[in-house]
Amino acid sequence: MDYLKAKGRIFDIQRYSIHDGPGIRTIVFLKGCPLRCRWCCNPEGQNYKIEQMMVNGELKTYGEDITVEELMPKLICDEFYFRRSGGGITLSGGECLAQPDFAPHILHACKDLGYNTAIETTGYSTWENIEKYLPYTDYVLMDIKHMNSEKHKEFTGVENKIIHENAMKFAKSGVNLTIRVPVIPGFNNTPEEISDIANFAASLPGVKNLHLLPYHRLGEGKYEGLGREYLMHGIEPMDKEHMNMLLEVAKKSGLKCQIGG
């Protein structure tokens, strides 16, 4: 089958993921992202080109070109766990929508084997592209980062218009959609900003769940390893009380809200 020959670029595979979608999952991280979120904890996934990063004093290469056919055994090995838990595969990144000639075929192959499929996405792509993914996608975890387009552009490099349009289209397509909000100090962590996002999410037909993902600094070392500047340097993660307060604010939208994925 042709689609098994499709080739794309990934930079990591993470097994036994239990906090991202239903059941026990394997996450495939696709390389390359059109956004440059300042807080991104996977900066090694942002550039499409294969690059090297220092990890614990050793230079490691990130990025591997692989066909669907070559990738599948790395996913199938946890089939027992998918089957028992209702789990499966999540495509993440980078931005999985940025590889439309590869990523949908992974989902296709996984669907053929009966796995649950999910994508974790910024939603930044053309709808034409996204339509290639939809027939093989059970579950979409999509970020809404800010309702103000200027601020969105300042912190992520892109405007939010297409993203919000796509959110609506996803919702109307009937796919199971959960909205996620990376809660970032200095960007969107005021009650007003969270409230706006939550209300927008609640306006999307069929959306029931909202996840607030608190900012963490675990990616900071990677920027150094890549020889890049960490623009969030010195920003402290929020305390529990603040997150709980935002959670209460978000709940007013009527959605089922939680902290963490």
Binding site: Y16, I18, G23, I24, R83, R84, S85, G87
Partner: protein
């Protein structure tokens, strides 16, 4: 609507009181049993051994102090003090004699012993010289087996120095029929004896001994009935008075007669459980399928209105506490191998019925609650899982796991049942299996399984390949040739197999010597009445009276041997980067690291022996110099650099535990080298050997006796735990690690395999966390894994507990096939538990 009554039951206020009484004082060694058995043995020297055992048992039961502790509802104690222990001189006395003054100060499992007890014991020790089962066993062993034992190829110390235990009796026979009925059966068989039968003498002695034993048990319970009645008379608290009256009634009835209700069944169970452990000090006397044999009494008493669910729970909680009251003092070395004051009473819930239906019932849930209510190491609580096990039950079990107590252990019916059947166990009996001790499956009430026959250190034969069969200057294995002659990887593996096969044969010899010694010196007429077909055969279990007979020594070190062989395959044979001599040189010098003090001493001894054998003279100074060199590391900078490079290259090679097909299949073959060899042999009770794959906690002390190995493991450090990967070398998470482990052939290790995992609490948080955890276990079992158990505790907690033990007195962790209080473990075992890879996300 749920199928089971699984609503929570509040813990009775009685339970914490009973628990705190357990831990008030350091456990104490008591002398009564030792004195009584000595008195009896002195009077009966002319009689057959089985009769002497029965008369001694009766003498003990007639005179052992009877004690009802405060707040108890289920009574009967082996010692006056909680968690005390009696002495069993018939098995061995030498170690106790030499350790009398250090049991209260040693590192693992301390025991207080009063000066009075010490002097009483010192008076009787001389009588036992030459009369113990351990001395007889040693005199039966082949010289080569003794040499291998001395050189730590294996240890059978457990049964050499102690009783055998490791069984589950027919509790249901006692509960349903009572000892009066068992006596009637014995008397019938006795009456039917044919004086011309060539086995008449043996059978005659057995039936008489069995009758004496059962009568003694009835009388013993009667003493409790009298004590309870007496205490009731003088009790001023009306509530306690009524409790004591009830206790007196129960003890007057059971275990002599069938239990009439659930409460009596609890009391009858307890007497049986405790008395087995007064007859012998064999550990792992396992209650087995408690939920199955107790449920009919529970159901009846609930239905006739005489029992509430709350009271049933309280009684079961009381039994759980009582199981922690029994204790055993081992020699200091064994105490490290079985650390944590554990007597491994394994109690089982769930699984299938004999006719293959799901066996979970309301009592199964009460068992889980009891572990939740008591949070104690005993019983070693096991649950049997099959494809038909309801999630409702597994989720409840997962909640117990989440508490961090290390219970329950999960067992897979789907592999254990066929494994047992492959050993000749019938389908019904296999479906009815329960777990003994740590992880050993058997058909309860009809098996003499000798499940812990020995520990076999799979790394030592690997060392012997490099030394061509020599250890510390002594020939202890076959000469498989100089390593430089091994042209292919297969040659190397063949040499390993030859070394291993030789040691397996020596171990079998040693186990069989111990086996015969027990039959001769310590037959057990009482417990044999409760195991089929001893009464029918007129023989004790030790003499081969049981229906199923096995001997199960367990091998450990699969991960190290696999990683070592794989490193050799890659670096020596595939890539040709190193020679075997490079490995040998590096291992001899511990990869450039200095040795521990203990190891340096041993190596000095070996060097001196070689020098002397070469005709050289050796003086004090030379010895000191050699020792110092070994302690600090003897190599030059060049060597050191070379060894470090080799060590790095070894580390970079793929490892077992990461779902790498070729490596995992090598692990499967490594396990076969041990398991397929073991099963070729027979034991004197008329059955076969069957291998297990687990070290209990012996991977730590036995690792101390093992040099550096080609997997890069440094000399004298712990060996990998169970069948799991080496701590820290499984880097792809719990699914990859479990997949590797599942690729072993668990069915052939029908004496049990043990897979410890450590999870971070966050992996089990919320209902979704529990569901995923359950799915994880089921998926491992789908791949025919046999056993899984979990420590759910974060690293920081364990580190803090090491620093501030006083704050963590009740912190229970999973050690191996059992749980123990973390703070009672030796420092090195604590470190090992902390080092096991924490699977988290």
């Amino acid at each position: 609507m749920n199928k089971f009554d699984s609503t929570e039951i509040k813990r009775s206020e009685r339970i914490p009181k009973l628990i705190s009484a357990l831990y008030e004082k350091m456990p104490e060694i008591e002398a009564e049993r030792a004195l009584l058995i000595t008195e009896s043995y002195m009077r009966t020297e002319e009689q057959p051994m089985v009769m002497r055992r029965a008369l001694a048992f009766a003498h003990i039961l007639n005179n052992l102090p009877v004690t009802i502790r405060d707040n108890e509802l289920v009574v009967g104690s082996a010692t006056k003090t909680p968690k005390g222990c009696q002495v069993f001189p018939e098995f061995s006395v030498d170690w106790l004699e030499s350790e009398l003054d250090t049991t209260s100060t040693r590192e693992a499992d301390k025991f207080y012993i009063s000066e009075e007890t010490k002097s009483a014991l010192r008076r009787i020790f001389p009588y036992w010289k030459g009369k113990t089962s351990s001395e007889l066993a040693l005199s039966y062993m082949a010289d080569t087996a003794l040499i291998s034992f001395e050189h730590n190829m294996y240890t059978h110390g457990n049964y050499l120095y102690n009783g055998v235990g490791h069984l589950t009796v027919k509790y249901e026979d006692v509960l349903n029929n009572g000892f009066e009925n068992i006596l009637a059966r014995l008397k019938t068989k006795f009456a039917e004896l044919n004086v011309a039968d060539p086995e008449y003498s043996e059978k005659n002695a057995f039936y008489k001994a069995a009758i004496i034993s059962c009568e003694a048990v009835i009388k013993f319970a009667q003493r409790y009935a009298e004590l309870a009645a007496k205490m009731a008379n003088t009790c001023s608290d009306p509530v306690r008075k009524n409790e004591l009256i009830k206790i007196a009634e129960n003890c007057a009835r059971v275990p002599r007669y069938p239990a009439e209700n659930f409460y009596q069944a609890c009391q009858s169970f307890w007497f049986t459980q405790m008395l087995i452990q007064i007859e012998s000090n064999g550990h792992s006397v396992s209650p087995g399928r408690f939920d199955q044999y107790m449920y009919p009494f529970y159901k009846k008493s609930i239905e006739d209105g005489s029992l509430t669910r709350d009271f049933a729970q309280e009684l079961v909680d009381c039994i759980w506490v009582k199981l922690n009251d029994l204790n055993k003092c081992r020699d200091a070395a064994s105490a490290e191998g079985f650390a944590g004051y554990s007597v491994f009473q394994n109690l089982c819930a769930g699984g299938q019925t004999k006719d293959g239906k799901d066996a979970v019932n309301d009592m199964s849930f009460i068992c889980v609650n009891a572990s939740m209510h008591t949070m104690l190491p005993a019983p070693s609580f096991s649950v049997r899982i099959w494809n038909g096990t309801p999630n409702e039950f597994m989720l409840r079990c997962a909640e117990l796991t989440r508490t961090g107590i290390g219970l329950p252990a999960y067992y897979n019916d789907e592999i254990i049942i066929p494994a047992l059947m492959s050993r000749g166990v019938s389908l019904e009996d296999a479906r009815n299996y329960s777990i003994i001790g740590c992880v050993e499956p058997q058909s309860p009430g009809k098996t003499c399984g000798w499940h812990d026959a020995a520990f076999f250190n799979m790394l030592r034969p690997l060392e012997m390949v490099f030394s061509n069969g020599y250890d510390r200057g002594v020939k202890v294995g076959p000469q498989t040739g100089d390593i430089s002659t091994f042209k292919t990887f297969d040659d190397f593996v063949a040499a390993y197999k030859a070394q291993s096969d030789y040691q397996v044969a020596q171990m079998v010899n040693a186990c069989n010597a111990v086996d015969i010694a027990h039959a001769e010196r310590c037959p057990l007429p009482f417990v044999s009445c409760l195991v089929d077909d001893c009464i029918a055969n007129g023989k004790t279990m030790e003499q081969g009276g049981a229906h199923y007979n096995f001997s199960g020594p367990q091998g450990f070190g699969i991960a190290n041997v696999t990683d070592g062989l794989w490193a050799i395959k890659k670096l020596v044979y595939d890539e040709k980067k190193y020679t075997l001599n490079d490995f040998k040189e590096a291992m001899d010098l511990n990869f450039g690291k200095g040795l521990t003090d203990k190891a340096a001493r041993n190596s000095t001894e070996a060097v001196i022996k070689t020098l002397i054998s070469e005709g050289k003279t050796v003086d004090e100074n030379v010895i000191t110099e050699i020792y110092k060199m070994l302690l600090n590391g003897v190599c030059t900078d060049t060597q050191k650099h070379k060894f470090e490079k080799l060590h790095d290259d070894i580390d970079a090679v793929e490892k077992y535990g990461n779902d790498v097909e070729e490596v995992d299949l090598l692990a499967r073959d490594v396990a076969y080298i041990y398991t397929q060899e073991v099963e070729k042999y027979n034991h004197p009770r008329g059955g076969t050997f069957q291998a297990g794959l687990y070290p209990v906690s012996a991977n730590v002390p036995l690792g101390e006796q093992t040099g550096a190995t080609p997997d890069g493991r440094y000399a004298n450090t712990p060996i990998a735990d169970g069948v799991g990967p080496r701590g820290g070398y499984d880097v792809l998470g719990p699914t990859a690690a479990a997949n590797s482990v599942a690729k072993l052939d668990h069915a052939i290790a029908s004496n049990g395999t043990l897979y410890n995992q450590k999870f971070h609490p966050s992996a089990l948080s919320g209902i979704a966390g529990l569901q995923k955890f359950v799915a994880y276990i089921r998926a491992f079992f789908d791949q025919k894994g046999m056993h899984m158990q979990f420590n759910v505790v974060d690293r920081e907690t364990l580190l803090d507990a090491q620093k501030n033990p006083e704050k963590y007195k009740s912190l229970v962790v999973r050690v191996a096939g059992y749980s123990a209080l973390f703070t009672t473990l030796s420092r090195s075992l604590q470190d090992d538990i902390i080092a096991r890879t924490e699977q988290t996300f």
